[in-house]
């Protein structure tokens, strides 16, 4: 796969092959061009990188462990399974990596106010956290339906001093929260930095978020070499917008012997209408400022996504993932609600680690495929977040908190 050598995306137009770009109202273009310029300057600025590294270490708690999941490995009787413990970050997920980076970006560009969209609430919490730490004003847009599903995170954001605005349009989930955040940004573009939470949106956002999340894969590479003396055979991560997956995949892009697997939310199954499998079931289209793979009808109306996990409940995907899928560098496989829920319980019981429902999709893939892997294969799963936020939702599905969780 020589085409992967010297991987150089995005190109100067913000494209990843045919995907990406900047499909936004003209009002935002100057801000995006300025952001790109500022970002490229700061990326090369040693004092910015030193400050970023400081907060990642002393505030977020990095590096996160690469943990050998011994009991899961034994149980499956298959490959050696390692978990990249992003759940151990401050605020409980990988989202803080990007929020710290973009919070510093806002500070260095003189913005006193940030806005963010959130699905499961993890990115909203991370943004609210950083806003508190850096003394920034923060407004988070969240779908009304997600506010109901993730009430605890709404409360956390408000405790941290953020304003949470319900997105009432469309399906009232992540897609609509992102629409509202972009609309708000168009009105406040002169004094507000928009902290996009995933590798989505117009250029340069997919690149910025990728760069701030690549610490996941960089650490993983170093840690697996230390523990196993070689690179993994397979790396698995769940994909909604795809920021934890991109952070994990990107440092391995040119290591073509490492298989990259993204797990898409298949909801009730990709043969039904209730899923969020934009790579497997979507077509190229434009969502939130980027050309990417998109769930849509024949006339280009975006169709609602479904997933048990609010963080994967998104009809699009980051444009670089669409590019990876097209070039074959990564493979994207569907995992159903049911499989994810089973993996949620399995990891809790075997390892004493309650994973986020999002991350449970990645675990479920390995549970399903373990039989087809070699015993001495090494598999790394990105455990993108902890499942505390999902406990109440899962309890309700099981008939309420009083009914125990002995399935």
């Amino acid at each position: 796969m020589s085409m992967q050598n010297n991987y150089a995306f995005p190109d100067p137009n913000g494209r990843y092959g045919q995907f990406g770009g900047r499909y936004v109202p003209e009002t935002l273009m100057s801000a995006l061009l300025q952001l790109e310029q500022d970002y490229l300057r700061l990326r090369a600025d040693a004092s910015f990188q030193t400050e970023l590294a400081y907060y990642l270490k002393q505030y977020a708690g990095r590096p996160t462990p690469l943990y050998f999941a011994e009991r899961l490995t034994e149980y499956l009787g298959g490959p050696k399974i390692y978990l990249k413990r992003e759940d151990l970050n401050h605020t409980g997920a990988h989202k803080i990596n990007n929020a710290i980076g973009q919070g510093l970006l806002a500070l260095r560009t003189g913005k006193r106010r940030i806005i963010a969209e959130t699905g499961a609430g993890q990115h909203g919490v991370a943004s609210a956290t950083i806003a508190a730490r850096f003394g920034l004003e923060c407004t988070v847009f969240m779908g009304e339906e997600d506010m109901r599903r993730q009430a605890l995170n709404v409360f956390r954001m408000r405790m941290l001093g953020a304003e949470v605005v319900p997105a009432m349009s469309g399906t009232r989930t992540l897609k609509d929260a992102t629409n509202e955040a972009i609309r708000h940004w168009v009105s406040h573009v002169d004094d507000t930095h928009y902290v996009i939470g995933s590798v989505v949106g117009p250029h340069p956002y997919p690149q910025i978020v990728r760069d701030f999340q690549r610490v996941i894969g960089d650490e993983t590479k170093e840690q697996i070499l230390e523990q196993e003396g070689r690179l993994p055979d397979t790396v698995v991560a769940c994909v909604g917008g795809g920021s934890n997956a991109m952070g994990m995949f990107f440092p391995f892009v040119e290591d073509t012997q490492v298989q990259l697997i993204g797990t898409e939310a298949a909801g009730h199954g990709i043969h039904t209408e209730h899923h969020a499998a934009s790579i497997n079931k979507g077509r190229p289209g434009v969502l939130h400022g980027a050309k990417t793979m998109l769930l849509q009808d024949e006339y280009g109306q975006v169709t609602p996504a479904h997933s048990i996990s609010a963080g994967l409940d998104y009809p699009g995907i980051g444009p670089e993932h669409a590019h990876f899928a097209q070039s074959g560098r990564a493979v994207y496989v569907p995992v159903t609600d049911e499989e994810a829920l089973a993996a949620f319980y399995l990891l809790s019981k075997l390892e004493g680690i309650i994973p986020a429902l999002e991350s449970a999709h990645a675990i479920a893939y390995v549970v399903r495929e373990a039989q087809r892997m070699q015993k001495d294969d090494i598999v790394v799963i990105c455990l993108s977040g902890r499942g505390d936020k999902d406990v109440e939702q899962v309890a309700q599905m099981e008939g309420g908190l009083a009914n125990g969780a002995n399935s």
Partner: protein, 264 residues
């Protein structure tokens, strides 16, 4: 494209009134009746919004209209049909307002060809800025459709120049930061935006976003070549759809009052 040029030329010292409605809002027949009434009561051109599920550049009023239309099953073929049905009765320019995704799905060549065949004259795509526009603008031109780009208060002289050069038909000047929707006043900055556009093109410069009242129209008519009024129409149509008045009568009266404000 000629129809747009001729329409501006025929205005003399008056300014163009360009109302906006959403196709299929609240249903096909009513939107046709509303469009006819607007054209018959003094509009110089009509901008027809093609409904979209995720209208990023629109405020709540037009979002709601798109939803009303989509819920009644209005899709692209119905939008082209509305253009065709109106064209059989009017010689005034008809301009499509569409987000890029429906256009891309349908295929740009096919989209512009069908729009032209139906009798459409121009297109406005609010989520395609300068950098993403060249290919689409070329395909539109090949089919005889004017590419009408937007300039914003944030654009800056260099971008304004490039956008003005890309424009056909007229240049759409966005009055203020933000999405579409009624405003209580019009920013004084927009006059300098119009002047900047005029430094770089001889095409007409029209102002939209937030234009809501005859007073706004009168003010803008003092320096621009035309005004686009959207949400103020769409809100009236929405009110009528929920039982509060007759849409045709309301848009007729509203158009007459705006037309009056466009006269020199």
């Amino acid at each position: 494209m000629e129809r747009i040029r001729d329409a501006f030329a025929a205005l003399g010292s008056n300014k163009a009134l360009i109302p906006f409605i959403v196709a299929g809002d609240p249903d096909y027949d009513q939107s046709f009746a509303i469009a006819r009434a607007i054209l018959a009561s003094g509009a110089d051109m009509l901008e027809i919004g093609f409904p979209y599920s995720d209208p990023l550049a629109d405020g709540p009023v037009i979002q709601a209209a798109a939803l009303r239309s989509l819920n009644r099953g209005c899709q692209l073929p119905d939008c082209f049909r509305l253009v065709r049905d109106l064209r059989s009765e009017t010689n005034k320019p008809l301009i499509a307002f569409t987000y890029v995704n429906p256009l891309m799905q349908y295929g740009a060549t096919r989209f512009f060809a069908e729009l032209a065949q139906a009798g459409g004259d121009g297109v406005i795509v609010p989520d395609v800025p300068l950098e993403e526009a060249p290919e689409l603008a070329r395909v539109a031109a090949d089919q005889g459709i004017a590419w009408i780009p937007l300039v914003a208060p944030t654009s800056g002289e260099e971008r304004i120049q490039a956008i003005a050069q890309q424009a056909r038909g007229f240049v759409y000047c966005v009055s203020s930061l933000g999405v579409t929707g009624e405003r209580s006043s019009i920013s004084t900055q927009v006059e300098s935006l119009v002047q900047a556009v005029k430094r770089h093109t001889s095409l007409p410069a029209c102002v939209g976003f937030g234009v809501s009242t005859p007073d706004h129209v009168r003010e803008i008519a003092g320096y621009a070549d035309g005004v686009i009024v959207g949400s103020a129409y769409v809100r009236r149509i929405g009110d009528a759809a929920s039982g509060d008045g007759d849409a045709v009568e309301m848009v007729t009266r509203f158009t007459e009052s705006l037309k009056d404000a466009c006269r020199a």
